[in-house]
C-alpha cells in the first residue's frame, strides 16, 4: 500500500483535533475568566525498527493564552477582576492550590468565600471564612474588609486577604479541570503587586473572529487531506488497471 494514504489520514485526524481546540475556545466565548488555548502542528518522526522515513503531522496545544479578557462591569461587591497579570488562588477538588481568573465570588452556607463554580478561595492564611456581614468590600490588594452584621458603618474589620499570585507563564499550564496549575506542583508565593478591581468580572479572552478564521482554515486543510487520500486512491486504481491490461 502507498504510505501516503496513512500520512494524509493522520493529517486529517490531527486537523480534527485542532478543530476541537478552536471549537472549545469558541464554546467558551462567554465563560468568565476563560483563557483560550493555542494549537499548533509539529512534524513528528515515526521511530521504530526501520529507517525513519515517515514524518507525521502532530497537533498539540503548546500553551494557553494569558492575555487579559474584557472587563465587564457588574457593580456587585463580590465580583472581582484582576487588572493586569496575575491569578486568584483557589483550592481544586483535591484540596490543592490552583489558579483562576474567574472572580465571580460568592459566600456559601458555611460562610466560606467560593468562586462561581463553588471552589474555595484561598487566603494568605488558609481558606477564607466570613462572619455574617452587613457589607463586604474587596480591596485592590485582595484584602477583605467587612462591616459585621448589626455593626455601625465605621466598624470596619479586615478579615483575610485573597492570595493573589503572579507566576511566570513558563511554569504554569491549564489542567484537566480547566484551572491553572504549576507545572512542578509547587505552591506559589503571594505577589503584592497584583491588582484586583471590585465590581467587575473578567470575560473570556477568546478572540471570536480569530477562532472563526482558524476554524475555516482548518476545514479547508482537512479537505486538502481528504483530497490527498482521494488522489492516492485514484493512483492505486490507475496502477491496478495498468497491471490488469499488461497481464
Amino acid at each position: 500500500m502507498d504510505k501516503a494514504l496513512y500520512l494524509a489520514m493522520s493529517g486529517g485526524v490531527q486537523t480534527m483535533n485542532a478543530q476541537a481546540i478552536h471549537a472549545n475556545n469558541l464554546a467558551n466565548v462567554n465563560t468568565t475568566g476563560f483563557r483560550s488555548d493555542f494549537e499548533q502542528a509539529r512534524a513528528m518522526q515515526v521511530y521504530g525498527d526501520y529507517y525513519p522515513s515517515r514524518v507525521y503531522a502532530m497537533t498539540e496545544n503548546p500553551a494557553t493564552r494569558y492575555t487579559q479578557g474584557d472587563m465587564i462591569q457588574t457593580d456587585r461587591n463580590l465580583d472581582v477582576a484582576i487588572n493586569g497579570e496575575g491569578f486568584i488562588t483557589v483550592y481544586d477538588e483535591n484540596g490543592q492550590e490552583a489558579y483562576t481568573r474567574a472572580g465571580d465570588l460568592q459566600i456559601n452556607a458555611a460562610g466560606q468565600l467560593v468562586t462561581g463554580r463553588g471552589l474555595p478561595v484561598a487566603g494568605v492564611g488558609g481558606p477564607i471564612f466570613l462572619p455574617p456581614v452587613d457589607n463586604i468590600n474587596i480591596m485592590a490588594d485582595g484584602s477583605i474588609s467587612v462591616v459585621p452584621q448589626g455593626g455601625a458603618a465605621n466598624e470596619v474589620a479586615v478579615i483575610n486577604q485573597i492570595k493573589l499570585v503572579n507566576p511566570d507563564s513558563q511554569n504554569i499550564r491549564k489542567g484537566q479541570d480547566g484551572l491553572i496549575h504549576t507545572k512542578n506542583g509547587e505552591f506559589l508565593e503571594p505577589d503584592l503587586n497584583v491588582q484586583l478591581v471590585s465590581g467587575f468580572v473578567e470575560g473570556s479572552n477568546v478572540n471570536a473572529v480569530e477562532e472563526m478564521t482558524h476554524i475555516m482554515n482548518l476545514a479547508r486543510r482537512f479537505e486538502m487531506n481528504v483530497k490527498m487520500m482521494d488522489t492516492v486512491s485514484e493512483n492505486g486504481n490507475a496502477s491496478a488497471r495498468i497491471l490488469q491490461r499488461t497481464a
Partner: protein
Amino acid sequence: MNSALWVSKTGLSAMDKQLNVVANNLANVSTTAFKKDRAVFEDLMYKTVRAPGGLSAQNAELPSGLQLGTGVKVGATQKDFSSGDYNMTDRQLDIAIQGKGFFQVVQPDGTMAYTRDGSFQLNSEGQIATSGGLVLEPGIQIDPNVLEIIVADDGVVSVRVSGETDPQEVGAINLAGFINPTGLNSIGQNLFTETNASGPPIVAAPGEDSLGSLGQGMLEASNVNSIEELVNMITTQRAYEMNSKVISSADGMMSFAIQQL
C-alpha cells in the same frame, strides 16, 4: 466522529440556557422585588490525548501535550440580591424592605416561604396576606373598623380606630435573613424557600442584625437592568451563531470526507 461537533453543541445549549435566563429577567422587569439571575459558565473537563512531558521515544520528551477541551456548561444560575429601586405608592399595606431581610409567609402546607414582595392585602378574615393569599408570619389581625394602619420602621404594626386618638399596637412584622441568600430556592410567585445552601433563617425584628428597616407606602421594584439584559441578549445570540457556524463547518468536513472517499 469529529469532536468539534459535540463541543460546539455544548456551546449551543449553554447559550440557549443563558438566553432563557436573560428572557426570564427581561420578562420580570416590572415584577415587584424580583431579583435577577445570572448564568455561571464553566469550561468542561479536558481530555488529555498526550500528556505534556510524556516520552515520544526512548530519549525524547514531548515538550507539550495535547489536551482537548470538551466544551462549556452553565454550572449554576446565581441570583443577584442587590436591591431594586424603591417606588412610592402611598398605599398603607405596601411595605418595602431597605436591607437584606425577607418577609416570612406561611405556605398552604404549613412550611415557611420568604419574599421581598411587600404588596400586602387583607384577606376575608382580616389577616395581612400577600397578593397570592399567603398569610404573613407572625399573623397580624386587622379589625374591619380600622381607619388607618401604621407600620413603623422597626416592624411594629399599629392601627387607629375611629373615635380614638391613640393608635393601638396589634402586632409586629419580623424579617428573616440568610447567610447565603444566593442559595435560596426560587419557587415562583416571588417566593423563596430555605435550602441547605442558604442556611437556616435568622429571624429578628426589622432594623436588628442588619436585616433592614421597613418603609410603609412604597414597593421595591425589580432589580433587572433592561439595557444590561439587552446587551447580554445580543452577545448570547452572537455566541450562539458562532457555535452553530462551527457545527456547520465540522459537518462540512465530515460530509466532504464521506463524499470523496
